[in-house]
C-alpha cells in the first residue's frame, strides 16, 4: 500500500486469498495467497498464461467460487463473512463479463429476454413499460442497434454477442465488473471496438474493472495497474507504465520479451524461457518460477517468496530484490 492511497479506501481488496481444489493426486493450488487492491474507477489487469489461476481469481472475488481461505473486502466489508441474504444485496453491484459470448448466453433467449432477465430477477422495474425503456436504453449504451431486440445469439456475430454480455452486466448498475478475457475470442478490429466501448463505459459510469487476459498488449492498453500471475501467485504488481518500462521479476521480463511485436527489427532482445509451467498440484515451497528461471539459486527454494514493495507502488516477489548482492556473486 502506498501512503497516498491509504486515505481513499480501495473498492476491492483481497488478503492472502487462496483456493485449493482437491484432485486425485492431492491439492491443486489454483490461487495461492493473492493480495491485491483496486481503487474506485480504476482497472487492474491480471495477466498470466493458461492455468495460472487468473479466472479462478476472478470468480473468487465475486464469490462465484468459495475461497479456501483469505479475505475479500468490497467497499470495506469482508464479503466472505456475509450471509447468503446479505450477499444477495451485494451481488448486483459486482458483475462479470465472460470470455466466450456464445456459450455464456442462453441460445433460446432473444436479446430482449437476455438483457431483461437480470432486471426481472431483481425486481428493478415497476412495469413492462419501464422494463422496455431500460432494455432499449442498455442496448443504446453498448452500441447495439434496436433492430436486434428480438434476435437470438446465433444470429449475431461475436462482437455483437459480447455487447449483449456487456449490457447484461451493466443492467443492475454495478460498481465493479470482472472482465474475464472479454476480447480474446474476437478478431482484432472487433476487439478494438469492444475495448473502446469498455473504456468509454468506465469514463461515463465510473466503473471499476478487474480485467483478466493473457494478451499483454490489451492489458497494457486498458489497465491502470497490472498484476502478473504465475502458478496461482502474484509475482509482480505495478502501474501499467512502470511494469512495461521496468519489469523486475524474471518471469515478467520473459513474458514481455515473448510478445511478437508488429514491427520489423524491434529494438529489444528476444529472450526465450525454456520449459513449461510446472505442476500446480501440491507445489513445493519456494519460488514457483525457479525451475524455469535462469537467475535461480539455492535461496529460491525451500521458502515461499513474498510480494515486497521495491519502489513506490511496484511490488515484486523475487529473492533478487530481497537480498542485496544476490545477483552479484553469480
Amino acid at each position: 500500500m502506498t501512503p497516498d492511497k491509504t486515505q481513499e479506501q480501495p473498492l476491492l481488496k483481497t488478503v492472502a486469498l487462496k483456493k485449493y481444489f482437491p484432485v486425485g493426486g492431492g491439492m491443486l493450488h489454483a490461487v495461492d495467497g493473492v493480495s491485491l487492491e483496486i481503487a474506485k474507477g480504476k482497472t487492474l489487469g491480471v495477466v498470466g498464461e493458461s492455468g495460472c489461476g487468473k479466472s479462478t481469481l476472478g470468480r473468487l472475488v465475486l464469490r462465484l467460487l468459495e475461497a479456501t481461505s483469505g479475505e475479500i473486502y468490497f467497499e470495506g466489508r469482508d464479503i466472505r463473512k456475509l450471509s447468503n441474504e446479505e450477499m444477495k444485496a451485494v451481488r448486483p453491484q459486482m458483475q462479470i463479463i465472460f470470455q466466450d459470448p456464445y456459450s455464456s448466453l442462453n441460445p433460446r433467449m432473444s436479446v430482449y429476454e437476455l438483457i431483461a432477465e437480470p432486471l426481472i430477477m431483481n425486481h428493478v422495474c415497476k412495469n413492462k413499460k419501464e422494463l422496455n425503456m431500460r432494455v432499449l436504453g442498455l442496448m443504446r449504451t453498448v452500441g447495439l442497434a434496436t433492430r436486434f431486440v428480438s434476435a437470438y445469439p446465433h444470429e449475431m456475430d461475436g462482437g455483437r454477442r459480447q455487447r449483449v454480455g456487456i449490457a447484461r452486466a451493466l443492467a443492475l448498475q454495478p460498481k465493479f465488473i470482472v472482465c474475464d478475457e472479454p476480447v480474446s475470442a474476437l478478431d482484432v478490429s472487433i476487439q478494438a471496438q469492444i475495448l473502446n466501448l469498455l473504456m468509454d463505459l468506465q469514463d461515463e459510469l465510473g466503473l471499476t474493472y478487474l480485467f483478466i487476459t493473457h494478451d499483454l498488449s490489451v492489458v497494457k492498453h486498458i489497465s491502470d495497474e497490472i498484476a502478473v500471475m504465475y502458478l496461482g501467485q502474484c509475482v509482480e504488481r505495478a502501474s501499467s507504465e512502470e511494469l512495461f518500462k521496468q519489469p523486475k521479476h524474471p518471469y515478467t521480463k520473459a513474458l514481455l520479451s515473448a510478445i511478437p511485436i508488429p514491427k520489423l527489427r524491434p529494438d529489444r532482445k528476444k529472450h526465450i524461457i525454456r520449459g513449461e509451467v510446472s505442476d500446480p498440484i501440491d507445489p513445493k515451497p519456494g519460488c514457483r518460477f525457479s525451475l524455469r528461471c535462469e537467475m535461480c539459486k539455492d535461496p529460491c527454494m525451500g521458502r515461499d517468496v513474498e510480494l515486497k514493495e521495491v519502489s513506490q507502488g511496484h511490488f515484486v516477489a523475487c529473492r533478487m530484490y530481497e537480498e542485496p548482492g544476490f545477483a552479484d556473486d553469480k
Binding site: 482484432v188 478490429s189 475495448l195 473502446n196 493473457h214 497494457k220 515473448a258 510478445i259 514491427k263 528476444k270
Partner: protein, 328 residues
C-alpha cells in the same frame, strides 16, 4: 534459391450449400519462391484457411468447389492431378500444420506411431522398419521432445508439446512447402515464442518454403519475407514485409488492421478500429468489397472493382491509387 516454388493464379473457391453459394476465395494470385515465407493475414472468414485447403486439395468434398484458376507447384498444376498422385504430394512435398494441436492428433495412437505413419506412407526408398524408427527418434529430438517419450499418447503432452509433435509429423518427409495455419494461436506467449523459434530454425535447416496463415501481425513481422493481406476472399495488398510494415502506401483496410492493435511501445488512449463487420461471403458488396467499411470511400468504389496497382512489387488493390493520387 530464387526459383518459383508455388504460383497460385486467379484461384477462386466457392462453398455451395442448399441455401446459398459462399464466395470464399475470389480470384487470388500470388507467388512463393523456394525457401521463402509468405504470411497470409486477415480476420476470421477472410478465406485464409480455404486458400490453404485448396492448395492441399483438401476442401470439403460435398460443398467446396474450386471454380477457377491454377495452382502451379514446381510448374505442375496441382488441380489437374488425379487423387492418387495428389496423395503422394501431400505430406511428402507439401504438408500442413493446423491450428489446434489438441484435435489434429489421433488420441488413441502413440505420438511415435503417428510420426512413423507419415514416414511409412511416403517410404519411396524402401527403408527398413529399424531405419524408420530411428528417423522417428531423430525427428522427436529435433523438435525438442526426448525420444523416450515416443510411446506416450497425445493427452500426456502439453499443448506446446503437442504442437511440436504435429510439426515433427509435418516435417517428417522434409517437404518443400509447409503450410502453417495459425500454428501458435492456441498457445501461450512464452510457448509461442519457443515454437516460432524452432520453426524458424528448422525452416532454415531444411530450406523449406512456408505459407504462414495468421491474424497476428506480430508473428508476421517476426517470421515472414512476404505478406499478403486478405479481405473477403481477395488479396487486397501484397508485398515484401518491409513494404507492409515500414512503407507509407497502404490499403485503408491494412491501415485499419494496424490501428486496431494496441501498441506496446507508445501509449495511445483510444484504438482506431475499422467500423462495421466483415461482409457476408454469400452476399458480397459490389465494387470494392471493402467500401461499406472504408473511411475514404469514393463514388467509384461502390460500383467498380478496383484494379491492382503495383509499386515495385508492392501491390495494392484500391481506387485511391488508380486515380493517380497515390495514397491520399
Amino acid at each position: 534459391m530464387q526459383d518459383t516454388l508455388l504460383e497460385v493464379k486467379n484461384l477462386s473457391v466457392d462453398y455451395e450449400t442448399d441455401e446459398a453459394t459462399f464466395y470464399a476465395v475470389n480470384d487470388i494470385s500470388f507467388k512463393l519462391n523456394e525457401g521463402e515465407t509468405v504470411g497470409i493475414v486477415g480476420e476470421t472468414g477472410a478465406g485464409k484457411t480455404t486458400t490453404a485447403l485448396a492448395i492441399m486439395r483438401l476442401l470439403p468434398a460435398r460443398t467446396g468447389r474450386i471454380t477457377g484458376g491454377e495452382i502451379l507447384f514446381k510448374g505442375e498444376d496441382l488441380l489437374k492431378k488425379p487423387e492418387n498422385e495428389m496423395r503422394l504430394v501431400r505430406g511428402a512435398l507439401i504438408s500442413m500444420i493446423f491450428q489446434d494441436p489438441m484435435t489434429s492428433l489421433n488420441p488413441v495412437m502413440t505420438v511415435g506411431k503417428q510420426i512413423y505413419e507419415s514416414l511409412e506412407i511416403h517410404n519411396l526408398e524402401h527403408k527398413s522398419k529399424q531405419q524408420l524408427e530411428e528417423r522417428v527418434d531423430e525427428l522427436l529430438e529435433l523438435v525438442g521432445i526426448p525420444a523416450r517419450r515416443k510411446n506416450e499418447y497425445p493427452h500426456q503432452f502439453s499443448g506446446g508439446m503437442k504442437q511440436r509433435v504435429v510439426i515433427a509429423i509435418a516435417l517428417a518427409c522434409e517437404p518443400k512447402l509447409l503450410i502453417a495455419d495459425e500454428p501458435t494461436t492456441a498457445l501461450d506467449v512464452t510457448i509461442q515464442a519457443q515454437v516460432l523459434e524452432m520453426m524458424h530454425d528448422l525452416k532454415k535447416r531444411f530450406g523449406t518454403a512456408m505459407i504462414m496463415i495468421t491474424h497476428d501481425l506480430g508473428v508476421v513481422a517476426e517470421t515472414c519475407d512476404n505478406v499478403a493481406i486478405m479481405y473477403a476472399g481477395e488479396l487486397i495488398e501484397t508485398g515484401r514485409v518491409e513494404d507492409i510494415f515500414e512503407g507509407t502506401l497502404h490499403h485503408p483496410y491494412t491501415k485499419g488492421l494496424f490501428g486496431s492493435i494496441p501498441d506496446l511501445e507508445t501509449s495511445a488512449n483510444r484504438l482506431h478500429p475499422i467500423d462495421g463487420l466483415m461482409p457476408d461471403p454469400a452476399d458480397l458488396p459490389t465494387g470494392c468489397r471493402f467500401h461499406p467499411r472504408c473511411s475514404q470511400c469514393m463514388e467509384i468504389c461502390k460500383t467498380t472493382h478496383p484494379k491492382r496497382v503495383s509499386f515495385n512489387g508492392h501491390d495494392i488493390v484500391c481506387h485511391l491509387f488508380t486515380e493517380g493520387g497515390a495514397g491520399k
